[in-house]
């Protein structure tokens, strides 16, 4: 417990990040499963939509806490710009940058959702697809940045998040009506490729020896490339 009291911000960053990932996963699952043609009988469709919206706002609040505690923790030299501009962080540039990309995408989705009546349904929907891109990026950010990925419970959490979204994708595809064959084929392919890529990444990356050194080496390479 003394470790927690010595470095409360460091552990708060980890905890809020993990909870934010769980909430983002729940939001994505509700979005995938609740937006199809299948209508649940026990609960109203508007209930699913409202819960989806509330969870996404809660997720953004936790992300704000995640970024705020990371910036406030003076151990790692992060500046506020690292929380908004991707790949501007000197610490694990690539992996922290992925988190920034995911946050920016979610921010865009939230802002366009707030003004969706003004921008029109078609534009809002096009922007809303960014949320589906933000989720895998957030998962890779969590696994690549977090020095706790080797913990069994943490790995299990990531696996459960991936499995939940996979199940939601397949459930949606199963209940989808005819049409949109190409889109469904793409989604089916992605639902296989992304987990396989994640598995390969975990085995060869964070779960392999010396990841902390290699993760930062990637950052050093990108910093040098950026200066050129």
């Amino acid at each position: 417990m003394s470790a927690l009291l010595d470095n409360p911000l460091w552990f708060a960053t980890r905890a809020t990040g993990s909870i934010a990932l769980v909430l983002l996963t729940a939001t994505v699952v509700l979005g995938i499963a609740g937006a199809g043609r299948y209508a649940p009988t026990a609960v109203g469709r508007f209930e699913v939509a409202n819960l989806h919206r509330n969870l996404s706002l809660l997720c953004l609040a936790l992300l704000a806490a995640h970024i705020g505690t990371a910036l406030a923790d003076s151990y790692v030299p992060l500046r506020w710009i690292s929380g908004l501009v991707p790949f501007a962080s000197p610490y694990r540039t690539l992996w922290v940058g992925l988190g920034t990309v995911a946050f920016d995408l979610l921010l865009a989705v939230a802002v366009t959702s707030a003004v969706r009546l003004r921008i029109g349904l078609r534009r809002w929907k096009a922007t809303h697809w960014l949320a589906y891109a933000a989720w895998p990026i957030a998962v890779f950010h969590a696994a690549g940045t977090g020095t706790d990925t080797k913990l069994g419970a943490q790995t299990t959490l990531y696996v459960l998040c991936v499995a939940a979204v996979l199940l939601a994708c397949w459930w949606r595809l199963y209940h989808a009506g005819p049409g949109h064959v190409a889109a469904r084929a793409w989604i089916a392919a992605l639902s296989v490729v992304v987990p396989l890529a994640f598995y390969a990444f975990m085995v060869s990356g964070p779960l392999a020896p010396g990841w902390s050194h290699r993760a930062q080496s990637l950052a050093a390479v990108s910093v040098v490339a950026g200066r050129r």
Partner: protein, 120 residues
């Protein structure tokens, strides 16, 4: 006829209100669970990854390190979160010297200190 329509409308309104209440309750519980989960997780991380004291950390990695010293910062962050010896589990960047733990604990010198001037 109009009374039936009114009843149906009232039922729909009540169902909607019930649904909104359910959503509000679920959101509240999820918010509380998220906050509690964050606290529990932070405690769990502190147990699973016992860190070093805050006073020891900046000595290894200055907080004002710039981009060029980022590799050291990463190693230092890992060092703090690692459960094993920081000197052995968190190697620094290839350009930076690796810290090694001394084989023996330091002892006090038995003899008095001597100084030598720069002259020959």
């Amino acid at each position: 006829m109009s009374r039936r329509i009114t009843d149906s409308s009232r039922d729909r309104t009540e169902a909607r209100d019930r649904g909104l209440r359910r959503v509000r309750t679920a959101t509240g519980w999820i918010t509380v669970a998220s906050a509690a989960g964050a606290v529990v997780l932070a405690g769990g991380y502190a147990q699973a990854l016992p860190g070093k004291t805050a006073s020891a950390a900046p000595a290894a990695v200055p907080a004002h390190a710039g981009a060029s010293s980022a590799p050291s910062a990463s190693s230092g962050a890992d060092t703090r979160s690692s459960s094993s010896s920081p000197a052995t589990t968190a190697p620094a960047a290839s350009s930076a010297p690796t810290l090694q733990a001394p084989a023996q604990a330091p002892t006090t010198a038995a003899s008095t200190a001597q100084t030598t001037s720069g002259g020959s």
